[in-house]
């Protein structure tokens, strides 16, 4: 199901770039759009191969979303992408009205999401995107855990009709899933079995959850790890099964603690089976410049933080 010893590191944005080229070869309708940062988002990979199907809109994210909506009306399969700070940050109104309310087949992709953007600082460390988008009807939201899963996600969103959002990061991170690790939109993946508690994670935090679970195993705590790659629609069944079978839930995401994966999981639990729960994420504050590893440590979004949370939540379970 996964391999933590794989030495390969690749950014999820690179997974997006390479998948888009492969998709473009198969599907002539694919059009890539960039807003002045196509080199950073890896949309330029597509430009190199299919310059005639690449559209540069300049530093104008609002217009990019509108143009993408128009391209969908012309029967194209548009993939607008830029930094998460600006997509959805800069163009939420366009996403809401022109894409989601209009229910058009636009495939939104962000890069540079999360605190691992690092040295660029808080302006570019988008930690609110899932919260903004999760409240918006008609939108499917995917947060891939590594570059390989990102590739699968790109192909999967192309197969479905309707608005989608894929969240990618800047930093090279371990590729730990395998070619045959299943990926289906809306269906989470149990990467590791366990009975004492369940960690439900997305994005880079899936990797840290697996590391944490291995450490905990040695201490005699058996932890289930679920890769909740689709935030919306959330896999309720897997959450409730984990709650009833393990009795404690920890969520982990590289995103604000409010409004993201943790909130989505909490909503399901509270209405059905409230079990002890703890959320790992950015604690309602902005980030700062630093190395990704330093920032993850300082803001408590790594294996160490997850281990501590598991221990705390399992204690509450026995009360």
């Amino acid at each position: 199901m996964y391999n933590l010893n794989n030495e390969t590191k690749k950014a999820t944005r690179d997974g997006f770039g390479s998948a888009l080229v492969k998709l473009g070869e198969k599907n002539q309708k694919v059009v890539a759009l960039a807003a002045g940062a196509g080199d950073s988002t890896r949309a330029f990979k597509f430009k190199e191969k299919f310059p005639e199907r690449f559209i540069e809109v300049g530093i104008a994210e609002q217009n990019m979303i509108g143009i993408a909506a128009g391209l969908a009306l012309a029967g194209k399969l548009p993939f607008p992408s830029t930094f998460a700070a600006f997509l959805p940050g800069r163009c939420y109104d366009q996403i809401r009205q022109s894409v989601c309310y209009s229910d058009l087949n636009v495939k939104l992709v962000s890069s540079h999401a999360g605190i691992t953007v690092g040295a660029d600082g808080a302006t570019h460390q988008m930690m609110e995107d899932i919260a903004m988008l999760r409240a918006t009807p008609n939108l499917t939201i995917i947060v891939p855990c590594d570059a390989l899963e990102t590739e699968k996600a790109v192909f999967a969103v192309a197969e479905m009709i309707g608005p989608t959002y894929i969240r990618c990061g800047r930093e090279k991170t371990p590729v730990f899933t395998l070619e045959d690790t299943p990926f289906e939109i809306g269906k989470s993946v149990i990467l590791r079995r366990g009975n004492d508690a369940t960690i439900i994670a997305c994005g880079l935090m899936v990797y840290y959850s697996l590391i944490a679970s291995e450490t905990l195993e040695k201490e005699g705590i058996s932890v289930r790890v679920i890769n909740m790659h689709t935030i919306k629609p959330i896999d309720r069944e897997a959450i409730l099964k984990a709650a009833s079978e393990t009795g404690a839930i920890i969520t982990a995401e590289e995103h604000q603690i409010n409004g993201g994966l943790g909130s989505a999981v909490a909503e399901v639990l509270v209405e059905n089976n409230p079990v002890p729960m703890q959320r790992i994420g950015m604690k309602d504050c902005f980030g700062e410049s630093g190395k990704p590893s330093q920032l993850l440590e300082k803001y408590q979004m790594n294996d160490k933080a997850i281990i501590q949370a598991v221990k705390e939540v399992t204690k509450r379970k026995s009360l």
Partner: protein, 271 residues
């Protein structure tokens, strides 16, 4: 070319519809809708917009970027047979396909939902660009309000259309010099609009938005423009056709009550 007299009859009918439907709704955007009745009449009955209902991808397209004047659009669509006329009175009511601002989910002729300003024009650029990618020459028409042009995204769209040389794109603005809250030139002046449009590398065309000959000529000129995107400034009067609504910004978002309706209908029928 369409007979001017026929167009005059049609636009009168469209104005009557607008007043009746908004009176029934008890709210809505009367002033701008009345002001654009002649332009919409020309668009749908002057042989301008060539709609292919069998194959939408082989058709001219239209987007209403200033979605709030949808009463004039719905009314023109009803006159053109796209919507049953009796359905017009359902506007703004629960369950109606005729939402307060155009929504595309139940009414296919509305292709994209608009209302939040400065967005439809961006989609029109994308649609025109999509046609260009497929080497199709169908036209994409988009209507904007002059107040809407205060939105920065409009200018992003204008830049992009010129950059991509979208000679299949025809934008037209309802230049009534008024917006919610007052005069455009007092709230945020657009004064040299024509020069601005030219500076953005569009072909700027100006016409009296209540003179059918001028309206049709402006549209034809735009359709024959092979060089660059065309932008038509239609000089209009908010509330055209009804004396007590004319040029009064307070009628931006207000519907006529029963007494006002009666008076307005008489004025239009008697004109």
């Amino acid at each position: 070319m369409a007979e001017i007299e026929d167009l005059e009859v049609k636009s009168k009918s469209i104005r009557l519809n607008i007043l009746k439907m908004l009176n029934k709704a008890g709210s809505g955007h009367t002033g701008g809708s009345l002001g654009m009745a002649d332009v919409f009449t020309a668009l749908y009955f002057g042989d301008i917009l060539k709609r292919n209902n069998e194959n939408i991808q082989e058709s001219d397209r239209f987007i209403l970027s200033n979605g709030h004047i949808c009463p004039v659009w719905y009314s023109a669509l009803a006159e053109a047979g796209y919507i049953p006329k009796e359905e017009l009175l359902s506007i703004r009511k629960l369950g109606s396909r005729l939402q307060g601002h155009p929504a595309n989910h139940n009414l296919p002729i509305v292709e994209i939902s608009t209302g939040s300003l400065g967005q439809g024009v961006c989609a029109a650029v994308g649609l025109a660009l999509g046609y260009k990618l497929d080497k199709k020459d169908h036209k994409v028409f988009v209507c904007l309000g002059d107040g809407e042009m205060e939105e920065g995204s409009v200018w992003e769209a204008l830049m992009a259309a010129a950059h991509h040389k979208l000679n299949n794109l025809i934008a037209f603005v309802d230049r009534n010099m008024l917006q919610q809250g007052g005069k455009t030139e007092e709230m945020m002046s657009l004064n040299s609009l024509k020069e601005k449009i030219k500076a953005f590398n569009w072909t700027a065309i100006e016409a009296d938005g209540h003179n059918f000959k001028e309206i049709l000529e402006a549209f034809e000129k735009a359709k024959n423009n092979k060089e660059r995107p065309s932008f038509i400034i239609f000089n209009t009067h908010m509330g055209q056709g009804v004396s007590f609504i004319l040029d009064d910004f307070k009628w931006h978002g207000v519907a006529p009550d029963d007494e006002q309706l009666e008076k307005a209908l008489k004025e239009i029928q008697g004109s």
